[in-house]
Chain length 393, copies 2
């Protein structure tokens, strides 16, 4: 009825695959590895309750009033200090804008950089939230192959030469959907290949803090070597996603443009939530809290990988995540993951078929599994059910 009024961008947006899947998984009998939810036991509820009462007493009406577009100073100071300490970044709060979750960071970056038909490079497969966000600005996506050690360097060079992308979007740590992490060597090669290109590099890092296998943090691509980098972070996976608080770190000139875009988008992010998270961070040991989450997720990831090793046919490959929230499964060449999905639902287990992570999904034989939102026993039962489904295709 309203077709003629709708914009081209919204008419060209594929209806959300995942939303349809989540409807199926409403059935409580189904074990769902489809979502990307943090385990709710990881939320610091007691500490947050203390913080909310403290900010109500301390700041009065300020926690309810309109506020600034860039975000609360004390929260941006915490972020600046943390990145200075960990990465030796030369930044101040002027290099930081608070966003309404990382999803808004993607929307704002689209608003500020992407004109219709601009080439944007993403991983293959890539995060579906980015594809949705940039779809709104009618980007032309080019996908570069992702290997076990990071971007495929030959494919990357070819992409750069052929498409001269204006912007690249990468998730170097525990990528969504694959769980893969770029090695230090791969990051160096990627930076070598892109450093002289006219290209903004966005590194999205919601999972970087969740490294649960041994090994130090790996520096970002081109860290402290270029002004053309934007770094995205989020409190969703390490404190709480419901507050919708993420941030972008970058050159001040770019942050100013993002501020203009944010003003047009929602004026500012919920200020109560900013006071709450800032108070929590300034009065608790975030690293100690993260250690608890890592321990939890490590056990869950191990349970999933062990169960897959035990029950899956040997023709099925999967990644061994060292952090983050997902593993990525690849079926034998020629198998159809949608057929598997139907069989899996019949077995009462759900996952996300690979389709929404590709720009041009064709014959897809991949799927994403999330392990953070189920206990180890449930994970084992779910993987058994999935193994049964695998035998039927």
């Amino acid at each position: 009825m309203f077709e003629k009024y709708f914009s081209q961008r919204i008419k060209n947006t594929p209806s959300s695959f995942i939303r349809e899947i989540l409807k199926v998984t409403q059935n409580p009998e189904i074990i769902s590895f489809a979502g990307g939810l943090p385990n709710p036991v990881s939320f610091p509820q007691d500490e947050l309750k203390i913080s909310m009462n403290r900010i109500a007493d301390k700041f009065g009406s300020k926690i309810y009033q309109y506020s600034t577009t860039l975000g609360l100073d004390s929260l941006r100071e915490y972020i600046a200090e943390r990145y200075k300490k960990i990465w030796n970044m030369d930044i101040s709060i002027e290099n930081i804008i608070i966003t309404t979750g990382s999803q808004q960071a993607l929307d704002l970056i689209g608003k500020v950089f992407v004109d219709e038909n601009d080439n944007v490079m993403v991983e293959k497969p890539s995060y579906l939230g980015l594809l949705q966000a940039f779809c709104m600005y009618r980007a032309n996506f080019v996908q570069t192959k992702l290997n076990d050690d990071g971007l495929d360097i030959d494919d990357l060079k070819n992409t750069l030469k052929t498409y001269k992308p204006k912007l690249a979007y990468l998730i170097p740590n525990f990528q969504n959907p694959t769980g893969l992490t770029y090695t230090p060597e791969n990051r160096k090669k990627v930076f070598e290949a892109i450093k002289d290109e006219d290209m903004i590099l966005v590194q999205d890092d919601p999972y970087g803090e969740l490294r649960f296998e041994e090994g130090a943090r790996i520096p970002y691509i081109g860290l402290n070597e270029t002004e053309k980098n934007l770094y995205l972070g989020s409190f969703s996976k390490i404190v709480t996603p419901g507050m919708r608080l993420g941030y972008i770190i970058g050159n001040k000139e770019i942050i100013k443009m993002l501020e203009t875009a944010k003003q047009a988008s929602d004026l500012h992010s919920n200020i109560f939530g900013q006071y709450l998270i800032s108070d929590y961070l300034h009065n608790n040991d975030l690293d100690r809290h993260i250690e608890k989450i890592k321990k939890l997720y490590k056990a869950q990831a191990n349970a999933m990988v062990s169960a897959m090793e035990e029950y899956f046919p040997k023709t099925v490959k999967f990644t061994h995540p060292k952090g983050g929230m997902f593993t990525w499964v690849t079926l034998e060449e020629g198998k159809d993951v949608l057929q598997l999905f139907d069989k899996a639902i019949a077995q009462k287990v759900a996952f996300v078929p690979g389709h929404p992570f590709y720009v041009k999904p064709d014959k897809v034989n991949t799927l994403r599994l999330n392990y953070t939102n189920a206990d180890t026993d449930t994970i084992k039962i779910g993987i058994k059910r999935l193994a049964n489904a695998l035998e039927e295709i």
Copy 2:
């Protein structure tokens, strides 16, 4: 340095006038009528503190977890019930999407409806937040003259005939920036003029509840007579703006499209804030709370109008708002409001010159004054200062 990377839309966005003005008003000696802040004494702080502790105890981790894009059911139910009761609307929660403040409602409507160069009709003058939001989608604005009783019907008919706008954006109650309200007769004429047009009508209504002069609520244009209407509402002016909670009411098919756009924009609005406001609304008498705000603002508006009547030269005209937050001042033809602004700052009083409310600001002799965020004594002093500045131009 980054100029070449920026999108056309962001390069064409005028740098925010108001942001520059607000910098000037940081000086505590300046009395500012420039902002649009609710009076913080109107925030129900005690009740909100009770509600936040109650939801923490009652809902546990749910108030911190990811949630649905359309928004919390109980909050949407409250809104549906209120609009059914007041306006006899035939709606359910499926007709409602929660937005991150009304500003996001504007952004989402832009995303869903506006292609580059689409004609969008707005009032002259119009709300600058809408102009900023739709600027991102490169709308072609056409402004229709606003009179004391509402839209100028001849100008409206001419606009419709000449530009065939795809969408119109109006603020029928206590408009921002003018404080004007469309009369019932004017609304009927407007609907008569537009009802057969291929046009979506957006009625933004953040101030409608704040009618402090006698008189009943005036029904929306085309209320319950068309499916092409969208109604915007907000909790910013009647509970708290810091939570960033607004909503759109409309046909289900349109709400579905807005949901897709919102998913790409920020996934969902802060869920803690939604639980908090929902709990507050379900456990307190909103109408009684609104009565208190209206009494407060009525005194402040009267103080401003009385002071203007007493001190301003008779050549200066101004609106007599019956609700809302603003009055609109028109200088003698040929006077330059920017010259007045400089003199006013020297007198230590600030306002918003009319420029950002026009699509093509030329010789502007209008300005907006806000009266909600200063007590009556301060308002009187500020208006005296402004009268002094008026004598100097």
